[in-house]
Symmetry: C2
Subunit: 350 residues, 2 copies
């Protein structure tokens, strides 16, 4: 036992009292920062994230600039499938694009298990650098894509609006779908376990697009593989966060997958979201990234509303409801961090 207090971010994830509300931003490292654009130059994302020195530096940039309470590894949810030889590329302005989408049982053979050290050693090296370079009170968040969301890229062949091919596969060939998300769950478990071994202090499972499913389909087609990942990673002793967009009706089911924290987008008021998540779990979010695109006063006013709805109760991590938009003025993010720290849960200071 140590007398050192836990970092506010880790304490909040575990619903413990905190001296200040912790804050970080999804996609805080990346296009919104001029120092990122300067460092990246004309390199591709995949090129940058395979260079641990660059990836670590990019991870650190927003910690220095914004004084956020957690760092998130600079990587991509598509890295494990890419690194194991499934043909996928990240196309600027579009996202992950798959050469030959996965549509048949035979295509499953093209997905091989992940050996984290052999396949993605650069990711783990980045984690190791960050474990030594980050300030002691700024934990590192590792991450993976949740099985549904990674599967959606592999099956659709790229970003999708209606997920027609995913849903056609689910309903027409549920056995292949289940085998697919099972393999992706194994890859996420391997990747997250290795990140934790290398020094990650918490992990976030990104199920960004799962809000496309009805609650019934979520329960059948996404929940079991998601729970398996969270069970395995939770057993490693680090807090887990499960995040998705458009998941208002899924929050209770997502909580039942066992994460410490459920991410909430901006569509559901935070107090309502917390009721749906239920007791014993923290929530994270829920400022609209679009509210950061106007004058700073608008963003601050919206953030105050989020903080009011958080109500000063333990178990809240301030964040946007989705990633920072590339057009965002970094000054707005820094001002948000100041506000959240200043207007923290005064009644709960430890």
């Amino acid at each position: 036992m140590t007398a050192e207090p836990a970092a506010p971010f880790l304490a909040a994830c575990r619903c413990e009292p905190v001296g200040r509300t912790p804050v970080w931003f999804m996609r805080q490292a990346g296009r919104s920062l001029p120092e990122y654009r300067a460092l990246k130059g004309t390199r591709s994302i995949l090129d940058v994230l395979t260079h641990p020195d660059l990836a670590a530096e990019i991870t650190l940039q927003p910690v220095r600039r914004h004084r956020v309470d957690a760092a998130i590894l600079f990587s991509d949810i598509i890295v494990p499938v890419w690194a194991t030889g499934f043909g996928v590329d990240i196309v600027a302005g579009r996202g992950p694009v798959v050469e030959r989408p996965l549509r048949t049982p035979a295509d499953l053979e093209r997905l091989r298990p992940l050996d984290p050290e052999a396949d993605t050693g650069y990711v783990l090296e980045t984690v190791r650098i960050l474990a030594t370079e980050l300030p002691a009170d700024v934990p590192l968040i590792g991450f993976a894509g949740a099985p549904f969301t990674v599967a959606s890229y592999l099956v659709e062949g790229g970003p999708s609006r209606d997920f027609a091919k995913v849903k056609a596969l689910m309903h027409a060939d549920p056995g292949t779908w289940e085998a697919l998300v099972d393999r992706l769950a194994d890859m996420a478990i391997a990747s997250l376990g290795a990140q934790v071994d290398a020094g990650a202090d918490a992990v976030q499972l990104f199920d960004s697009w799962v809000g496309a499913l009805s609650p019934k389909d979520y329960e059948r087609f996404a929940l079991p593989a998601t729970r398996r990942v969270l069970d395995a990673v939770g057993a490693l002793g680090v807090p887990t966060i499960l995040f998705g967009v458009g998941t208002g009706e899924l929050l209770g089911l997502m909580a039942s997958c066992g994460p410490n924290v459920v991410g909430v987008d901006w569509r559901v008021p935070l107090d309502l979201a917390r009721r749906r998540v239920g007791p014993g779990r923290a929530v994270q979010g829920n400022l609209d990234p679009g509210a950061c695109l106007g004058p700073v006063e608008v963003a601050l006013e919206e953030a105050r509303d989020v903080l009011r709805r958080a109500g000063g109760a333990p178990g809240y991590v301030f964040n946007l409801g989705h990633g920072v938009l590339p057009e965002t003025d970094p000054g707005v993010l820094s001002a948000l961090v100041e506000l959240v720290h200043a207007e923290g849960p005064a009644g709960l200071r430890s």
Copy 2:
């Protein structure tokens, strides 16, 4: 007064008892039908819908094939702005694309008021043809885009995932945003009024993308203009439907805009949606279009669940939660119509 019973669709919109649950499908006319593809050939959508004989025939095709309880005018929500000379095109596989997006107060001058007969006489001629050719118990639904959703295309320049430019404009220059949705409300009122005069029996206001807003932003930036359209059109004596996707948290606010019917996507179970909409209004939806892409048994099973949740109470129109996906087997839609008619509200037969 006449002894003739109202068409089931119109009765359901008004929460009156019906002999069978009425059913129609958003985007029932169009790409999923081989007879549509044969008739359209290589013509563009805008070419087809400016020819009343073709547009009327396409509107009738799904009525003949599926025996649905309502026809929806074959047109597009972008027609009024296109017809008044705002540079916009419908790009196959992408949607409406705007040459010079609307971003500044000066750009507002490029939006001129709609004169329905002079600018869109072909739409009204299509309505007139359909008013004589449709069976007496199959009403014609006219439609318009709601101000928010039309504005989103004009400001973004095309379909968007994050509506960053819309939100930036709303927050940075609310006056210009409000002037924009006000002009679009006037255009919708003019267009819908003329469609009703020409013979439309009901109207649907498509606010497809408004689910991108938080309840607070909906209330400020979308609700007032939407309510103005529904007030004006409701006064004409035809039922009104307000539809959007991803609107789980907005259903109560949408109901407060005054439509007879609130559309519900597939993310919210129908019984829960009805509670959020509140008493005195009908609901329409909420089968996942993606559930129609697998075996017919899956679609029928999902439809039975929707009907169970509808509970046989008055005020329900069966539909998908969004438009028919192009890949849909038309046989699945016909089977759904049969099921819905066969498993109608037996206890309520008049």
